[in-house]
C-alpha cells in the first residue's frame, strides 16, 4: 500500500488505535479468560492446578484470536467494542465464580 501519496493522518490514527486494541485489549481479554477459566474449570471437577494450567495455556490462543479479529473487523469502533465487551463479560464471570466460592465456603 505504500504508494507515493502520504498516508492520511486519520488512517494512521486508526492503525494506532487498533494496535492498542490488539496488543493491550487482547492481553486484557486473555488475562480475563485465564482468570475466569481458572475458576470455572474447577466447577467441572478439574483439579485447581490443572484448571490454572489449562486456562493459562489456552489464554495465548485467545490473545492471538483477539489480535486477528481486531484487524479483520470492518470498523475500529466495532473492534474496540468487541474487545471491551468480551473482557467485561469474562471479568463478570470471574467475579461471579469468586462470589459463588466465597458464599459456599
Amino acid at each position: 500500500m505504500s504508494k507515493n501519496t502520504p498516508l492520511p493522518a486519520s488512517y494512521r490514527w486508526r492503525v494506532a488505535s487498533r494496535s492498542v486494541a490488539a496488543i493491550f485489549g487482547g492481553y486484557a481479554l486473555a488475562a480475563a479468560w485465564a482468570a475466569s477459566m481458572s475458576l470455572w474449570l474447577q466447577q467441572t471437577g478439574m483439579s485447581r492446578v490443572d484448571a490454572v494450567t489449562t486456562a493459562t495455556m489456552s489464554s495465548f490462543v485467545v490473545h492471538l484470536c483477539a489480535a486477528l479479529w481486531v484487524f479483520a473487523v470492518a470498523s475500529t469502533r466495532r473492534a474496540w467494542l468487541g474487545i471491551v465487551l468480551s473482557t467485561a463479560l469474562l471479568a463478570a464471570l470471574t467475579w461471579l465464580a469468586r462470589a459463588g466460592a466465597g458464599g459456599a465456603a
Binding site: 488475562a31 485465564a34 475458576l39 490443572d50 490454572v52 494450567t53 493459562t56 492471538l64 470471574t94
Partner: protein
Amino acid sequence: MRPDGKPEGIRQSMSWLHTWTGIVLGWLLYAVFFTGTLSYFLDEVNLWMKPELHASVPGADAAQTAAVALAGMQKLAPAANTWTLEMPNERQTTVSASWRDRNAAAGRAGTKRAELDAATGEKIEARETRGGNFLYRFHFELHAMDRATGRWIVGIATMFMFVAIISGVITHKKIFTDFFTFRPKKGQRSWLDAHNATAVLALPFHIMITFSGLLLLMAMLMPWGAEIAYDGDRQAYNMERRGMVAGAQQQREGEGKEGREGRGGRSRGGAADAAPVDLAAAIGPMMAQARNAWPEHAVGRITVNRPNKPGATVELRAHGSDSLTTRGASERLVFDAATGKIKERPPLPTPSAASAVGNVFASAHMGRFAGPAVRWLLFLSGVVGTAMVATGLVLWVVKRAPERRKLGRTPFGHRVVEVTNIGVITGLALATGAYFWLNRLLPVEMAERAAWEINGFFLAWLAALVHAALRPARSAWKEQCIAIVVLFVLLPIVNPVTGGHGLFTSIPLGQAGIVGFDFAMLAIAALFGWIARHLVRKDRPVAQVVPAPLKEVTP
C-alpha cells in the same frame, strides 16, 4: 486496513497485520531463532568450547567408569553430603560431578562442580568460558539486563511471532501450491517464494516452537489464572505444578533434587551399621542390576546420598526417557549402599492431561529427549525458521525497491531497515563465529576470560553493523557472507590446532558430540557459501530484475 477506508477481505487485512508484526520485531526474532537453533547443540557447544575435556575417553564398560569416578569423588569431596555424577554419553565425554557440602547454601549457589576424566577419575581443569550457555540464555533472556526484563522482551516478541505466523497462514489461500512454487532469479517474486517455502515447509515446527515458547514463559507472561485461583500465592501453584513431574527437569536445574533425595536418604537410612562402604567396589553389582532393569537405557546419573556415613544410599537413574509427557522423567533405582540391595523403585510420575500437554510442548521445544537424528531434524527446522525470518525481513526491503526507483532516492527509513537487516542477519552469524574463535584464541589464564569472549561477540556484531552502514547494501551482504564462510569453515581446523579433538581423532573415537559441532559449523559455512556464491555470480542490483507487477501480494 486500507488507507482509503474501502472494504477489504480477510486475507488483505491479515497480510497487513503480518507485514507489520513481522517487521516490528523481526530482528529480535531472528536473533532468538538463530541462537535458539544453535542451542539444540548446547551440550556439543559446551563440550567444544572446553577442548580440555576432549581428551577424556570413557572405556566400554560403564561400571568401570562409575567405579573410577566414585574413587575420584572420594579424593575430591569425601565429606560432602551428596554426590551427583552425570555419566558420559554420546553428547558428553567426561563424568560431570557435582556435590553439596553439609551446610551448603540452598539451590545452585551451594553446588560445587567438576569435570572428571572418564578413564581415570581425575579432575580436569577446563578453561573459563560461558560456552553454549551464553547463546542458550541469550535466546530467551538476552544480555546485559536483568533476566526478567529480557524474558519480557522475548516473551512479547514471541506473542507477536504467534500473530505473524497465523496471520501469514490466513494470508495464503494457496498455501500448499505455494510450497511447490519457486521462481528463481525473479527478484521480489523469488524472495516471496523463498519466504513462503521456508514458512510452509516447517510450519508445524514454527507453530510448535512459538506456542511452546510462550508456554515456557507463561508463569511470567500470564500469571492471572494462578493469581486468582491461588489467592495471590503463585508459589503454591508452581510447587503443585512441579510436583506432578517429580524427578523431571533436574538435569540442568540442580535445584530441589538434593532436598528431595536427601530427605529420603535421611529418613529411611538411619538403621544401617556405621562402617563406611567402599562405593567404588559396591557400584559394579548395582550397575548390573540397573542393566537388567532397563536393558534399553544406560545409567545416566548416579546420586550418592550421605557418602561415607551410615545409611548411605545410591540412586541410579536411566539415561533418556521413553515419554514426552513426563518431561524427561526417567526410571530410578535406589540402593542401600551397605547391602547393595534395591531399597526403592520409585514409580514414574503419571501427569494429568493438562500438564502432559504442557510437558509435550516443553519437551518438543527443548529437544532434550532427542537422539542424534531428531536433534538434527530440530536443528534444520530451526535453520529453516531462521531463514524464514530472514527472507521476510529482506522481502520488506525488496518490495519497496520500485518505490525507491520512482523516488530516485532512498528514504531514510528504508535505508535503516536495509542496514539493520545486514547488521543482524549476517552480523549475528559473524559475531557467533568470532565468539567461537575467541574461545580458542584468548589466553587460557586471562582474567575475566569468559566475559571477554562475550564482549568479543558484541564487538564483532557492532563492527558488522558499522560495516553494513558504510558499504553499499549489496557489497555489504557479499563481504559479510564471505567472512562468515571463512570463519566457520576454518573452525574444524582451528579445533585440533588449539588443543581439541579434530575430526580425524573424534570420528575414530566415536565422540559424536565433537563431530556434531564440527559438522554443524560446516553446515552453516555451506549455507552462507551458497548465498555468497549466488551474490557473486549475479552481481547486479536487485532492482533491475524486478518483474512485472504482482497481483497477489498487494496488501
